[in-house]
Symmetry: C2
Subunit: 158 residues, 2 copies
DNA sequence: CTATCCAACGCAATTTTCATGCACACACCC
DNA sequence: GGGTGTGTGCATGAAAATTGCGTTGGATAG
């Protein structure tokens, strides 16, 4: 199933990506399309899976989550089961916001958000390092976040 | 101004963080508080800045954004202006989802999302490397994303 | 122990927003 | 030229959010 999006769809996505609290009427006024059409197009986009869901974007500072860190994990040449266990574990850890397998010298990169450095240390020493599969862990702490919008770049063409 | 949150607030935040499309009535049923109170508490949380905004979470695959990369940037010992220019530039680049200044041997980590490897190469060679301040760039590509929910870990206490 | 106060609560009424049936317009194909 | 299909705006009915209001419960002071 091919998904065809026109420029109205892109405009709607671009707006909703920044502010999903706008009413269809407000979106309507910004892009010059009736509110009912906005509604129908949104339904389509949701059904097609282009819009995965709607989320509240919380302020980490206000919640006492002051430390963001990127942790590079290297796995040893271990059993498939241990590696699988590592992935399951990491996926289930609430402090881990993102986890990717990477090309290059590091196998995994984890984005971790915690209240303070002590909590980071706990996560690394108690949760990550004890795992069989883990050979090495290198963490780097974000001192200042310049940008963290997780806004996808929508191609302007079409 | 100290922000005091009780367990109802945490429950609301936890739910909205996963699904902001739920009605107050539905949230009400899940946590045992009337819909009108959910509404009032949400207003308070929004006003206090705990809830920053509501966003549509888009599917990168469906939009042809197939490549996620983490790029570590090292700055040379250059002028303050060049460094500032770098930060401005990076903040304005749509492909850059996140940008953090880091502790350790790398000055910045950028999370970049692009359609393909060619586009990544373009970003690095045309946008990043030509900058005065930039000394070195090392990129690592995400082969598989295990987790990318950007869900903050809300402390269960209180 | 009781009176008072204040914040939080639920209910119900109001207002806003959403969803959909319907008729029309435009483009494309036969 | 006529028919078909997709997309559109308008208007209506349904659903949801918001808010006024009276009440409740817990803390504090007398």
């Amino acid at each position: 199933m091919k998904i065809a999006l026109d420029s109205f769809d892109y405009k709607i996505l671009g707006i909703l990506q920044d502010n999903a609290a706008l009413t269809n009427q407000e979106i309507s006024e910004r892009i010059g399309l009736s509110a009912s059409q906005i509604s129908r197009r949104r339904q389509k986009l949701e059904q097609e899976g282009v819009i995965r869901r709607y989320r509240a974007d919380l302020n980490p500072q206000a919640l006492g989550l002051l430390v963001t860190a990127y942790v590079g994990v290297t796995l040893g040449a271990h059993s498939r089961e241990n590696a699988a266990r590592f992935r399951t574990m990491v996926t289930a850890m609430p402090e881990v916001q993102e986890a990717h397998t990477m090309t290059g010298d590091v196998d995994y990169i984890l984005k971790i958000v915690v209240p303070d450095l002590q909590a980071l240390s706990r996560v690394i020493n108690d949760d990550l390092l004890p795992q069989e599969a883990v050979q090495n862990v290198r963490s780097s702490i974000a001192m200042e976040t310049l940008k963290d919008e997780n806004r996808l770049p929508l191609r302007s063409t079409a």
